[in-house]
């Protein structure tokens, strides 16, 4: 029989949440960061050939090298993605972020590797390094696991290896993929996410890289600006796949976060999806409810890059048409060049849904966040 302690421990004070940032991007300082987390053979290979790179189709991004120019030090030689102190100063402390979910800058290239075993080794090392060197140094960080999604069996192994870690709240995947994510090939990944209560976080990248289809359904645009503008279309393709393949019927606990997809398109997509389903329901009869209902229940969108509708009053109807009080979550994309600070976003939101967007929906979507 357990003894009742004479003085009970203090009741854990409920965190007074201000903001959860669902999308930030950190990076290795150097490949040697990974050395302690790799086998001797894998380290030798990494040392010899360097980190895999996904070829940059445009030799351009935005901002300065894709990041905030104000975050580079003098000489511009230190990548802000590699500086934990900068995340603390400019984001966590500076912006009042209570929890920030790390989606590694290194992830896309690893997910484009055809050599799945080396990809799996790198994923393990990158996750272990992040947990030790970022999460281990500031408990406000959480991790979306990097997984070798190109091979679901290996991906599942990694999810089971770390899915129980208290700071691991999601699994990270990129939109560029040889297959649409609703296809049954990926079901084991969703089963593993469901086992551990992890959200599946989908973020652009890798479109047109390696074995993946072009960045737009119409082919390869000439300029980075076009791919930036056209991003919603490949999120839509994956979302449609998840809906019509019945992924949410198969995995009723699954939450999918679409990060950096924009959200102005969501109401129109829902109308169109429901109209399509009403007409063609019999072809996929396992889709029991109008698609918009699955979206409301299972799919979440991030605020960045926040679209500023014109006229400004149109924002209200977009928020209304996507049930933003249930489906929209704050993200900053720190330290990328198109960063959105939380105070500016909070100001744009109607007061009635501000807390929902800034932290409450994130706490529901990533149930391990608040544990």
């Amino acid at each position: 029989m357990s003894r009742i302690p004479e003085s009970s421990p203090p009741v854990a004070t409920t965190v007074r949440w201000r903001a959860v940032d669902t999308d930030v991007h950190h990076q290795l300082r150097d490949i040697s960061d990974l050395r302690p987390y790799l086998s001797r053979y894998d380290w030798q290979r990494l040392d010899e050939y360097g980190m895999p790179r996904n070829s940059n189709l445009y030799q351009a991004n935005g901002g300065f090298r894709g990041a905030r120019a104000d975050c580079f030090g003098a000489g511009n030689n230190v990548d802000p993605r590699t500086r934990l102190d900068l995340f603390q100063e400019k984001l966590l402390d500076g912006c009042g972020i209570d929890a920030a979910i790390l989606q590694g800058e290194y992830t896309p290239a690893v997910m484009a590797l055809a050599d799945i075993d080396f990809a799996a080794s790198l994923c393990r090392a990158l996750n272990d390094w992040t947990l030790a060197e970022w999460v281990g140094r500031d408990s406000r960080f959480r991790l979306a696991l990097t997984i070798p999604i190109q091979d679901p069996a290996l991906a599942v192994k990694e999810i089971h290896r770390l899915g129980g870690h208290p700071a691991v709240v999601a699994v990270y995947a990129v939109c560029g993929s040889p297959r649409l994510y609703g296809q049954r090939y990926y079901d084991p990944v969703y089963a593993a996410c469901s086992d551990h209560g992890l959200a599946f976080a989908l973020h652009f990248s890798n479109e047109g890289i390696g074995m993946n289809p072009a960045p737009t359904a119409g082919g390869h645009p000439s300029y980075y600006a076009e791919t930036y503008l056209l991003r919603p279309q490949f999120y839509q393709a994956h979302l449609s796949s998840l809906l019509f393949e019945g992924t949410f019927e198969k995995f009723p606990q699954l939450k999918v976060a679409l990060l950096e997809s924009g959200f102005g398109w969501v109401p129109a997509f829902r109308w169109r999806a429901d109209a399509t389903w009403k007409s063609l329901r019999a072809q996929t009869p396992w889709v029991k409810r109008p698609p918009s209902e699955y979206i409301r229940k299972h799919v979440r969108f991030a605020t960045q890059p926040f679209e500023d509708p014109e006229p400004a009053a149109a924002l209200a109807s977009v928020l209304d048409g996507m049930n933003a009080d249930e489906t929209l979550m704050f993200s900053s994309d720190f330290p990328h060049w198109d960063f959105d600070p939380p105070d500016a976003i909070a100001r744009r939101l109607p007061a009635g849904i501000r807390d929902r967007v800034m932290f409450e929906t994130a706490l529901e979507t990533y149930p391990k966040l608040s544990r």
Binding site: E245, K250, S279, R281, W286, P290
Partner: protein
């Protein structure tokens, strides 16, 4: 039901509307589809609530359903009419839409329900075999 107020309108001799067949007739200015579903008669207003298509000229099909993804099962053979224009499906036997789950579950509409909800059900009429004639009651 205000059966007493209804009047019988003969459509055709029973022999001319065999199982699986339909007839479209105009009664009191309304176009109405009369169906023989495996020996049972049903009559529906020939107007789709969506965009006004001649609903009863659509294909008569089974209800396709699934207990889990990647399976297809047919139920209720010949009891579904698929609109010829945008393929909305309606239950021939009740006039109810099969693509608005909430209205499938409801058996009666609350007073003052929005027209969007009301429109998901088609008017149906009683059909009987009266002395060898198929008769619609309006």
């Amino acid at each position: 039901m205000t059966g007493a107020a209804r009047k019988p309108y003969p459509v055709c001799p029973v022999a001319e509307l065999p199982a699986g067949q339909r007839r479209i007739v105009t009664i009191e200015g309304k176009s109405i589809g009369v169906f023989n579903v495996d020996g049972r008669y049903f009559a529906l207003r020939n107007r789709c609530p969506h965009r006004g298509a001649p609903l009863c000229e659509g294909q008569v099909v089974d209800f396709v359903t699934a207990t889990k993804p990647y399976t297809w099962e047919t139920q209720r053979p010949g009891e579904v009419i698929r609109c010829p224009w945008h393929s909305w499906e309606f239950d021939l036997t009740t006039g109810r839409s099969l693509c608005f789950p909430d209205t499938i579950r409801t058996t009666s509409y609350p007073a003052g329900a929005s027209s969007a909800v009301e429109s998901e059900k088609i008017d149906t009429y009683m059909v009987t075999d009266l002395q060898g004639m198929v008769v619609v009651w309006l």
